[in-house]
Amino acid sequence: MVTALFFLFAGLAIACAISLVYHKNPLYSAVSLIGVLVSLACIYVTLAAPFIAAVQVLIYAGAIMVLVVFVIMLLNLEEDRPLNRLRYLYAVGGGLGLILLAQTFFIFYAVSRVPKQPVNVDETVGETLNIGRAMYTEYLLPVEIVGILLLMAIIGGVILVRRLAQPELTLVVDNELARRNEAEEIGDYRIGL
C-alpha cells in the first residue's frame, strides 16, 4: 500500500518537476511546482511525518507559491525568451545534469547494497508534541536564529519594494525603453539585452 502510494506520488512529482523546467510560461511553471509540493506533502504523510506535511502545504503551497503567482500576475510576464547569447549554458546544464544523475544512481546503488537494517517503526516521531518539544528545548537557538532571519527578511522586503521617488523611477524606465529601441535599430543584440 505504502509502496504503491510512493510510486504514484513520486511519478507525479517527477512529471511535475519536468513540466516546471519545460514550460516557458512562468504561470505554468508555478502550477507545476505546486503539483510537486503537494505530491511531496503526500509522501511525507506516508513517511509518518504529518506535521511536516501540513506545514509543507501551509507554508510552501499556501503562502510562498501564492506570493509567486501574485507576482507573476502583477507583472503580467510573457513567455521566456529563447536563450540567444549564453548558448554554452545548454552544454554546461546538460553536463551537470548528467553528472548529478549519475551520482543519484550511484547513491541508489550504494545504499541498496547496504545490508537491510530494520526500519524503525516508531510512528510517534513525527507527532506535533515531539516536534514541539524538540524545537523548544534542544533546538531553541536555531529556532531563535530563524526568527531573527525572518524579521530581517521582512525589513529587507519592505525596503526593497518601497518607492523612493516616483518621477526618477519613470525616468529610468523611459531611458531603458529608449536604449532598447536604439539598440534594436542598430541591430546590436549585446546592447539590446
Binding site: 505504502v2 510512493f6 517527477i14 518537476a17 516546471l20 523546467v21 512562468p26 511553471s29 508555478a30 510537486v36 511531496l40 509522501i43 511525507y44 513517511l47 511525518a49 506535521f51 511536516i52 506545514v55 509543507q56 510552501y60 510562498i64 506570493l67 509567486v68 507576482v71 510576464l77 521566456d80 525568451r81 536563450l83 549554458l89 546544464g93 545534469g97 544523475l101 543519484t104 544512481f105 547513491i107 541508489f108 545504499v111 541498496s112 526500519v119 524503525n120 516508531d122 516521531v125 513525527g126 516536534i131 524538540a134 524545537m135 536555531p142 532571519l149 525572518l150 527578511a153 522586503g157 519592505v158 526593497l160 519594494v161 523611477l169 529610468v172 524606465v173 531611458n175 531603458e176 539585452l193
Partner: protein
Amino acid sequence: MEPSLASYLALSGILFTIGTVGVIFKRNAIGMFMCIELMLNAVNLTFVAFSRYYADVTGQLFVFMVMSVAAAEAAVGLGIIIAFFRNRISVDVDDASILKN
C-alpha cells in the same frame, strides 16, 4: 511493505537534478527562483526520509528551518524581482548584466 531508504534518496536526487538543470536553463528570474525551491524541496525529502528510518526528530526540525529560510528567500527574492522589473521592465536575468542606469 515499505519502499527502501534508497528509493527515497533516488527520488530526491532526480528532483535535485531537474532543479539544477532548470536553474541553468531558465533565463527568467522567477523561473530560476522556482527551480531553487524545487532543489530545497528535494533536500527536504532526504531529511524526512532519514528522520523516518533512524526514528530521529532532528531531520524534521531541519525541514522546518529550511522552510523558514525558503519563506525569507521568497520575501526578499520577490522584492528584488519587483524592484528590478520597475527599472528594467523585464525579469530576464540577462538584462541584469548591464550596470548602466
